[in-house]
Symmetry: C2
């Protein structure tokens, strides 16, 4: 076996296989893009420099750096269904459309003052952004970035709200939560000029994030103001939000919360969801159907991301400051931590290759991405990146509820 597909199919032939890539050669950005598939591409957010690193996961190399994205200190992004374009949601309210094949910015608009995330519709036509400032949700034409809908988040008392936990649902529909308004809204944008909104008030205090389960059945909001989560059944007409896991921290001494746990990445561990507990050194194992707690796993620190390997057999966990130099691996069948290692200071995010054989981990304060094999846990590559945070691979384009 001497097959090294990337060396022949590489977009810019820029960086070596699996080696520390170092700076992207200046020539790389100017090169003529070669024909290539887009199924193994990814983007890494470089949070301090307003840039993205374009990577490929077959040969584990850097293809290019894309600059000029504004404030990327907490950026996230989604891919369109062709896997050619990414839509980047910047902290400064910037919405940037990036072309992965030419490694360039197609278009950039500043659509709000402070954005926290977004989603793309299943048909690839609509991109929705949730805003802290001015609040509400704005929907854009994916082709042109023209705004096609502006939905302020005025709660039942008429007060404006920050929005969080924006996810895509089937059929040009999005769901999101009103952080200050304590509501969950579902917006059907089949006709984006006349969206149909369904509003669920009084869902619990201060929803700070939300996810949909990978089957699109449940929308789940994390609550900052209560010791519970709220879930909404999206398959049953007329269903009301219900609180679940109420009092999951009750009776114990809560620790100061260093960082809210993130909800992305749950949902695929067989019958279980593995959920970071708020303000505790614990991961909760929850039955996917009933949302009853079936176990607690003591862990190294306050978990930030609990990401299930795509087959659900392992969950990898990173932690909040001051324990954020460490990663642990939970074996799902036994609900035990089976591996712990210390990549270095400020491990911010992790992303699996689509069938789960490898995982990429951003180590911000070492300016590095580490790639590990998930069977042996061995580190197999290091990739230089400037203050890397979020890592996003193109197969996300095809997932529900991201």
């Amino acid at each position: 076996m001497t097959a090294r597909p990337t060396s022949r199919r590489g977009l810019f032939r820029a960086a070596g296989l699996g080696a520390v890539a170092g700076l992207v050669p200046a020539a790389a950005r100017a090169a003529e893009p070669a024909l290539r598939g887009t199924g193994d591409l990814g983007l890494v957010v470089e949070r301090a420099t307003g840039s993205l690193l374009l990577v490929e996961t077959t040969g584990r190399s850097v293809l290019a750096r894309i600059e000029g994205l504004g404030d990327m200190s907490h950026a996230s992004l989604v891919f369109d269904r062709t896997e050619r374009f990414a839509f980047v949601f910047g902290r400064d309210g910037g919405l940037t459309k990036v072309d992965l094949l030419t490694a360039s910015i197609v278009k950039r608009v500043v659509q709000g003052g402070n954005a926290i995330g977004g989603a793309i519709s299943d048909d690839g036509r609509l991109v929705a952004v949730s805003n802290y400032t001015p609040g509400g949700v704005r929907v854009f034409d994916a082709e042109t970035l023209e705004m096609v809908a502006d939905v302020p988040a005025l709660d039942r008392r008429g007060a404006p709200s920050k929005t969080v936990g924006l996810v895509d649902l089937p059929f040009r529909t999005f769901a999101w939560s009103l952080l200050d308004g304590d509501e969950i809204w579902i917006g059907d944008f089949a006709d984006p000029r006349a969206p149909k909104l369904t509003k669920h008030p009084d869902i619990g205090r201060l929803p700070y994030d939300g996810v949909a389960t990978s089957d699109g059945r449940w929308y789940v909001a994390g609550l900052f103001g209560e010791d519970a989560l709220t879930r909404l059944d999206l398959w049953t007409a007329g269903a009301k939000p219900e609180k679940v896991l109420t009092g999951y921290g009750k009776g114990e001494q809560p620790l100061p919360v260093y960082k809210m746990p993130h909800m992305e990445g749950w949902g695929a561990a067989g019958d279980l969801l593995l959920i970071p507990a708020v303000g505790r050194h614990e991961v909760l194992a929850v039955d996917r159907d009933t949302f009853r707690e079936v176990g607690r796993i003591p862990v190294h620190g306050q978990p930030v991301f609990c990401v299930a390997r795509p087959d659900g057999r392992q969950v990898w966990v990173n932690y909040a400051h001051p324990k954020n130099d460490t990663v642990e691996v939970i074996d799902v069948p036994s609900l035990k931590v089976v591996h712990r290692f210390v990549p270095g200071p400020a491990v911010l995010h992790l992303e699996f290759t689509p069938r789960g054989h490898e995982v990429w981990i951003s180590v911000r304060d070492r300016d590095r991405i580490d790639v590990h094999e998930t069977r042996t846990f061995a580190k197999i590559a290091e990739i230089a990146a400037k203050s890397p945070s979020g890592i996003f691979f193109t197969p996300r384009a095809h997932r529900l509820g991201v």
Copy 2:
């Protein structure tokens, strides 16, 4: 909303949006390929003419026809992790590597006498083919199509066997069944020149197909010679195959079997698997964990494919001759048929867009693919194809157990 991404991003600018595409313009095949993402591409097997139709699902159009693939009367294919290349397994033992971006054949080898299917490893380096003639499994370098392993399927008595139900498992591993040998084999090809084989004998009479559940936990073989299925736990070291659903047709008058049901497409309907019953006008609903029957759904004919929409909320079913002009849709929460329609004679296969908003259906004897919206069931496009059978979209590249 006037965004029509395909019209600008189309590979060959060959066919109109959503219209009956008609014949592919001759110019199309010669045109210079434009840059495009590969996440929304697909291939349709044209079973009578040894050809493949290259399609895209955003604008629902034909991009090109690729000819010269040999006997495609029962062909299937897999995509590499870049989503640029497909590996096509022909009935004549041909293994053909196709480039979707140039719409051309990269390489073709005749690797056996009669092949029934294949799979690709998670790292994209190895393609495995299961053969009726000469039997056994052969493994090829995905880059060069050079054979790197030849594993004859000699059963415990030393007799050669046809192989079926070949699937990929994590970490360069494949599983398959010995049709004549009544065995399941797991092959770890981490070092393809020295594969590690685990053999499970006496799994039940005449396994005719196999699948892995989407989490990669269970390998399930359908039995032709017994009224049961066999499943193997791939997560538990030393696990033995166990028979499940034993006697699921017992006590009733079996009908003549017109066609063996296919096992591809199961596995994502929440907690349930919806399985075509052999020789009956029924679909079985089975608990995903225990494999106990939890319900039976009376249907129009003998089911061939029961394909779950990616979110698992619906299962679409086609039928064996003489009832193969009809498709039914089962609503999973209620286990009821909620829609039936008649596309035309010889409905052979169906494939969902990755987030499930649309479904493509091949209607062989009308030389046509129909595209339906899955929310309204409405037909939204027709695409001309010559005797179409299997439909394969590139996001399959990222699924486990295909």
